[in-house]
Symmetry: C2
Subunit: 254 residues, 2 copies
């Protein structure tokens, strides 16, 4: 099994860094292999726009989807995007490792999606969801948050991770990945938001790394989340079975 980790944290010595190093150890223990793209270290540019396209199909007005398709077809993809597509193509499992910033991934990881998931190449109107480019591969979100676990329930102060991660999960599903339940590290406390004694925090976070290591040793047996696919939709994209759609779509990730 080969795993590719996309790591999005500005500080290598952070708990996110520890999670990624733990994943590398856990996933290489049997001769399996891991690659890591550290978006901050490589200075990844998350802003999709004209500056990435030297050869333009529509020079007068920038349209991201048209330029992505043109660059894919003409072999003029930006170097960093082409490299990252290669990393994804080699991976059986893709891990997105990030701190929860404003109820989602940091901009540098959002922009990795904006730029790397290339229209006309990695998806088309018929090659997406369960017919997506990366079907048969798995994706796993590992996210840290400063707030305690109790706040992350429906109606709770922090919100509920099924809803919060839906945009990321559904985007991975769109690309064809089977999305595994997320691994959430709670109470990773930054400056000014301490709910516990320092030694309690340290002990808890150490145990959490052990849980993460353990989860990854059996990740090949994990059951993916359910998301709707082509068999669930009518020609307009509406759900054929509204009850199934509602119940499961909202429950996914809980």
């Amino acid at each position: 099994m080969h795993t590719h980790i996309v790591h999005a944290h500005p500080e290598p010595q952070s708990y996110n860094g520890a999670l990624t190093r733990t994943a590398e150890r856990a996933l290489t223990r049997n001769g399996d292999t891991v690659t890591v793209t550290d978006l901050y270290r490589t200075g990844f540019d998350p802003v999709e726009g004209p500056r990435h396209y030297s050869s333009r199909t529509k020079p007068d007005a920038f349209a991201a989807l048209a330029e992505q398709r043109h660059a894919w077809t003409g072999g003029t993809l930006p170097e960093d995007v082409a490299a990252e597509i290669g990393n994804l193509e080699r991976a059986d499992l893709v891990i997105l490792q990030f701190p929860l910033w404003w109820h989602g991934p940091p901009a540098i990881l959002k922009g990795w999606m904006d730029r790397v998931f290339v229209n006309g190449g990695l998806y088309t109107s018929t090659m997406r969801y369960d017919t997506g480019y990366f079907r048969g591969r798995r994706a796993l979100v590992s996210v840290t948050t400063g707030a305690p676990r109790a706040a992350f329930v429906p109606g709770g102060r922090g919100g509920e991770f099924g809803t919060m991660l839906w945009p990321v999960h559904y985007s991975m599903h769109y690309m064809g990945f089977s999305v595994l339940p997320p691994f959430v590290s709670y109470g990773v406390q930054g400056h000014g938001f301490s709910y516990e004694e320092e030694s309690v925090v340290a002990e808890r976070l150490k145990g959490n790394l052990a849980d993460w290591h353990q989860l990854l040793t059996t990740v090949d047996q994990a059951e993916p989340l359910w998301f709707p696919g082509w068999a669930d939709w009518d020609a307009d994209g509406g759900p054929l079975d509204r009850d199934k759609a509602c119940g499961n779509a909202v429950a996914a990730g809980k």
Copy 2:
């Protein structure tokens, strides 16, 4: 009334551009005022990280929350962040205008949140949600998507906007804004995703601009979405009334 528009599209001649120009016209018709931050035009850097902090409180290991708090207290906020906070402070209404990219805002707008919503200044553990810095002001998301309206229902192919926009809406709620129901422009078709004749599209999108203009002329009467607040939570951040929380949290935005 003063409105501040945060505009996140790489192409001025795009439909997003037309929506922002329509909003400017609608919201200045009675001597009211509008400012626009065009994130692409100003080259806004959405990547939160060490390069924005010349005076560091923790020089050895970068912690975003600690550095934001330190910069706020010491008056060393990055210039672009300070300017944008000024724009927000002057606004009764904030409009976020963006195309839906991977089920959320483009990276440049996500990073605007990562950098501008400054810890220790614009929020603290007690100054957030309904006690947030911007309480009494309103926020409104205006988003475009290429897919047709029929696909955007629970379980539908495109997903459901209440869930999709939850992270953005809840982040604005966290900052104290009253969040208005979003304005969604469907079927704004990019290259390779055309479901209709060109003249049909043009006519529909023209009508949509008229709807947007109309909505903005009565925006002061719009009823905000419901999100939970301090009175709804116990000390751990869990919901006091689980049924109310579930029903409304999921329904919000539909």
